[in-house]
Symmetry: C2
Subunit: 254 residues, 2 copies
């Protein structure tokens, strides 16, 4: 028997975002590997081994999953959102590149999922309707100078910017610094979307002008979307939240 | 009866990428509106009206869908990939902003989908594993100067870049110009992924070094992903295609 490993995107918290392709991988796996809360989202099935781990050990978890696959298991490494976007897929390939040469012969696949910025954007309108960048604000794996210079470049070129991993107890100041960088260039009324736990019962979404946004409005379950210069609100009657969208056109309307 | 309009992401061509949430919207719609090939992907159902149109009339199609919803229909506007990424959602909100004020009172929602860059990335490994930008190469709705300056900024800041709408018969030279801009900064061996018709029977994926890439390798069904300076290949035994990934870390390994 030849083992296989698929890194599976579970999408945001709501199972209605899990694709049939991802469900099929989960249904045929012998082993589920992942961060505890993600493993918990996989339906129980008799005979399936579940290996939940802490969130801080991506590379160890990747190696463990590869070892299981090398022994013949059909392993599903589960990841929130899309596994290729600031999640487990890159960690698995890092482990493959630097690990046992035989791992390169394994059948390793990635099953895409709805990543957080797409789910968050859909909740409020179409803020990603123009060109956009996705940037992890974590400086655990890259220097803050790189984060800051990328953010500065993206804002200067007038991309919409989605910030992943905006804040945590170990990284308390980076999001505030990021908002300061944005405010160097963007207008005070630029819409900022803070979308927490999209698709989960504790979902909370706020739309705040740049002049009023504070890092304390986000936590580690939040994705932050920073509008471009042409991102705008459409006010709605009564108590409806405004729609937020970025037009497809830029500059003079064709 | 109050009408509703949902812009639904069908994902890439394979129905196994259609989320249950999107399927549910299609199953309860009275009217399906969209570009012909997308409407064709929606299962037939008795009593459902299907309104297929040409691809060049997004804004007219959006207004038509809003008029139907205003008359009480439950309208699904279907879009390939994710509707919020270079697709129909922004067109609908443009129509709302500039249209009949009563449209602002409609129940308008967006149902996210797997966008092309995620599906393409998943097929080859994890090329979007670092920070990345999504840029439409079409200069139908924005000046080429804006496209070029955004691409230059993204490459200079060492983002991975996904190019949507890379080429068409009406826009034959832009992709070649884009590769020239990339080559000003990126090394000749930078991996370029050209993913055509992902999830469809005629899917074709190539991984080509920047020095050898040509615009003729893409068509209007292709998404192009340009690696960052640290995007790399993992060679595989025998005839296996290499994996492509961008490490999560940047600079010195922590």
């Amino acid at each position: 028997m030849t083992g296989a490993l698929t890194i599976v995107g579970l999408g945001p918290g709501d199972p209605r975002y899990l694709t049939p392709a991802a469900s099929a991988v989960l249904a045929s796996a012998t082993d589920i590997v992942g961060y505890g809360p993600y493993v918990d989202r996989v339906p129980e099935r008799p005979g399936v081994r579940r290996h939940a781990s802490d969130n801080r050990v991506e590379l160890d978890r990747a190696r463990f999953a590869l070892e299981l696959a090398a022994k013949g298991a059909r392993v599903a490494v589960v990841s929130g959102g899309d596994p290729g976007v600031f999640a487990m897929a890159a960690a698995v390939f890092e482990a493959v590149e630097n690990g046992d040469p035989s791992w390169r012969g394994l059948d390793i696949r990635v099953e895409p999922g709805i990543t957080a910025m797409l789910a968050a954007a859909a909740r409020v309108g179409a803020p990603l309707g123009g060109d956009f960048c996705a940037l992890s604000l974590s400086d655990n794996l890259k220097p803050w100078d790189v984060v800051a210079s990328r953010l500065r470049a993206a804002v200067a070129a007038d991309f919409v910017v989605a910030l992943y991993n905006p804040i945590s107890s170990a990284r308390p100041w980076q999001l505030g610094a990021a908002f300061e960088i944005v405010a160097e260039t963007r207008a005070p009324d630029t819409p900022i979307i803070l979308a927490r736990a999209v698709g989960r019962p504790d979902e909370r979404i706020r739309i705040v002008p740049l002049a009023e946004v504070e890092a304390a409005m986000a936590d580690m379950s939040t994705i932050v979307i920073i509008g471009a210069s042409n991102t705008r609100l459409i006010e709605r009657p009564e108590e409806g939240a405004p729609y937020v969208y970025t037009p497809r056109f830029y500059g003079a309307r064709p």
